[in-house]
């Protein structure tokens, strides 16, 4: 069997390394280090050990029997990636890159984060491996994701509030790039999604592919009709899909954020939506841009899917048709969270519930002897401040109010 390259640079017309000259040398250095590490059994052995004893791999595969029965079609299986340490798949990539950074002799780590899951994973591995860590996070995201800021600081990271542009994920990426342009000699930029200038899309896919490889083992004997994952930048989906990309089956379905519905600014649908090919933040892909090329604001109930670009490999696989794209509305996502909580005792992250929502629609159309695998890329504990005020608004707001009152009374 031919060995698949760990480094591609371009995926069809997408990908590449569109960066200012100053970042070319550090990216060349990173590419060389990544290729050499991936060919070194000692590096791969240590990665496997950390995956097992720190992340908690392999993560379980749940046969969602109740959900399957209620929906009355294909058997639903849920890859419980949210049971990984720190609560989401993001840790897989963080561990891989921190080991690489140590191998490269770097002394400091920087990262961007949107919802905060990647920031939390990065802060955690920096604590474990003894690196000072700076996480750039948009001011808007800091305000709405306080629990993750708390966790990052608990792990010892410095969280820097980004006040430029739209003050969200894309601006955090810009700020991290600015830091790196002046600090690359001793600093590794631990990028969290399968996008950005090469080699990041290839590197993040390889470190996330552990998900897909476990799925191969865990679905032996099943007739898998489709695999479904949510797609923000695309790190969980590309890792989940990776071992299946070169085969013709099963169907691979990526689910984007349908938000409040159609219209620029109302969702984060890049494939089949209003997006156009462009070059932004160092790579070529589909982006939500206006006709001047300005990056547009996006909306999703899940902060992790709220990004204007999509990883270049997914853009290409969408173009070739190997990956099908669907979207789920905010309201369908909340319904999916409730459905799996009540019937399976599993709380999906809002991001991952996008995949759940599409599975709920697809399962009844497929025969009972087929299987459908959902990647629950994260668990929903982190969303409590968002989902609780939607699902049970009054008691939740009452609780928050009493908490503040108790705190204020204690101060007097």
């Amino acid at each position: 069997m031919p060995v698949k390259p760990v480094y591609n640079d371009f995926f069809g017309p997408f990908g590449g390394r569109y960066v200012a000259e100053v970042l070319r040398a550090p990216l060349d250095e990173l590419e060389a280090a990544f290729k050499s590490a991936m060919a070194d059994p000692a590096f791969l052995d240590e990665l496997a050990l950390v995956q097992k004893e720190y992340i908690g791999r392999p993560t379980p595969m749940l046969h969602a029997r109740n959900a399957s029965k209620i929906l009355g079609g294909a058997q639903i299986y849920v890859k419980l990636e949210g049971l990984a340490n720190t609560g989401a798949h993001k840790i897989n990539n963080a561990v891989g890159q921190i080991l690489l950074a140590r191998r490269m002799g770097k002394k400091r780590i920087i990262a961007e984060t949107g919802a905060g899951q990647h920031g939390v994973a990065t802060a955690a591995v920096c604590a474990k491996f003894g690196f000072p860590c700076t996480v750039y996070m948009g001011e808007v995201d800091i305000a709405r994701q306080r629990p993750n800021v708390y966790l990052m600081e608990l792990y010892g990271a410095q969280v820097v509030s980004v006040k430029s542009g739209s003050r969200t994920l894309k601006d955090a990426v810009n700020e991290a790039l600015r830091d790196w342009a002046g600090s690359f000699a001793d600093t590794h930029y631990l990028l969290g999604s399968a996008l950005g200038p090469s080699p990041f899309p290839d590197m993040v896919r390889e470190f996330q592919a552990v998900i897909g490889r476990e799925v191969v083992e865990q679905t032996r004997g099943l007739d898998v009709a489709a695999m479904i994952a949510c797609v923000g930048g695309g790190s969980n989906s590309i890792g989940f899909f990776e071992p299946f990309i070169d085969a013709k089956t099963p169907r691979l379905i990526g689910v984007e954020a349908g938000g409040r519905g159609p219209g620029l600014g109302e969702n984060a649908v890049r494939m089949g939506g209003d997006a156009r090919p462009g070059v932004v933040q160092g790579y070529k892909s589909y982006f939500l841009l206006d006709d001047d090329g300005q990056v547009q604001d996006t909306h999703s109930v899940s902060a992790g899917l709220d990004y204007a670009g999509i990883g270049p490999q997914l853009a290409y696989l969408g173009q070739t048709g190997r990956v099908e794209f669907a979207s789920a509305l905010d309201t369908e996502v909340i319904d999916a969270v409730k459905f799996f909580a009540r019937n399976e005792g599993v709380v999906f992250a809002l991001e991952s519930a996008h995949a759940g929502a599409v599975a709920i629609k697809l399962a009844p159309t497929l025969p009972k002897d087929k299987a459908l695998v959902i990647n629950m890329s994260g668990r929903g504990d982190k969303d409590i401040f968002i989902s609780a005020k939607i699902i049970t608004p009054e008691p939740w707001i009452g609780f928050l109010r009493r908490e503040v009152e108790t705190y204020d009374a204690g101060k007097k």
Binding site: N174, L177, G293
Partner: protein
């Protein structure tokens, strides 16, 4: 002899009229070249001052069409001062590289500075520049590996922009003898534009013999910001012109 100075400004900042007034003042103050930046939503190679200006210009409604109008107006009023257009890949690629270059030439632009379309990853920009008689200006850093520098110079660029400090625009740069030697060597082979972190007349004097032209960016953008807040368009014109006079010496 006065220094050859390229001054940077953001089109549409803080609004169209004031940016036109800024361009006039830069020319009146003695700038040899104008570098006009078309704002982009995600200017990741720029520091806080320019980045904030881009965000404000876009919030004020800047469109690429306004940028062309600004360039055409200032070219008509000050035909002796060549205009270089700085922007990012997204703007150029979305408009179509070939079409963007043609439109720039038509508007009277002399050169394009697009830092994230570097030689070899330029989407055909260098070819389009050649075709339309437009200089495409590579942006390099002094730490550039020599093989890479030679590959860039093999394109025979008329100008090379050297960002003389790793990192972003807008923080004060210290000029070392090594840096000056690097610039002087390069300047013997092409016309060097040297910028990033130049904010004083002293620095301009220090650099003028090592480079063809010295670029001042963030320092001027900060003056526009402060003057506009204090006294609106009229004060912007006066203060910008005074600062350029001081820088040129």
């Amino acid at each position: 002899m006065k220094a050859s100075l390229m001054t940077h400004m953001v089109a549409g900042y803080p609004d169209y009229e004031t940016s036109l007034e800024t361009a006039r003042a830069l020319a009146a103050g003695g700038a040899s070249y104008l570098e006009i930046q078309f704002p982009f939503s995600d200017p990741s190679a720029d520091g806080p001052a320019i980045q904030a200006a881009c965000t404000e210009a876009l919030a004020a409604g800047f469109r690429v069409e306004d940028g062309w109008r600004l360039v055409e107006t200032i070219r008509k009023e000050c035909p002796a001062v060549p205009v270089f257009l700085m922007s990012y890949a997204s703007i150029v690629v979305t408009k179509g590289v070939e079409g963007f270059a043609a439109r720039a030439r038509q508007a009277g632009v002399s050169g394009l500075i697009i830092p994230d379309l570097a030689p070899g990853a330029d989407e055909g920009l260098y070819e389009a520049g050649k075709k339309h008689g437009l200089a495409v200006v590579p942006v390099i850093v002094p730490s550039v590996p020599s093989g890479r520098l030679e590959a860039i110079l093999a394109l025979k660029p008329e100008w090379v922009y050297t960002a003389i400090r790793a990192g972003i625009t807008g923080t004060h740069t210290t000029l070392t003898p090594e840096l000056k030697a690097f610039l002087a060597n390069l300047n013997a082979r092409t016309k060097v534009l040297a910028g990033f972190g130049i904010d004083s007349a002293q620095q301009v004097r220090d650099l003028r013999d090592s480079a063809h032209t010295v670029v001042v960016g963030s320092a001027l953008v900060r003056i526009v910001a402060e003057a506009f807040q204090k006294g609106g368009k009229a004060l912007v014109g006066r203060e910008v012109e005074a600062k350029v006079r001081e820088l040129v010496g």
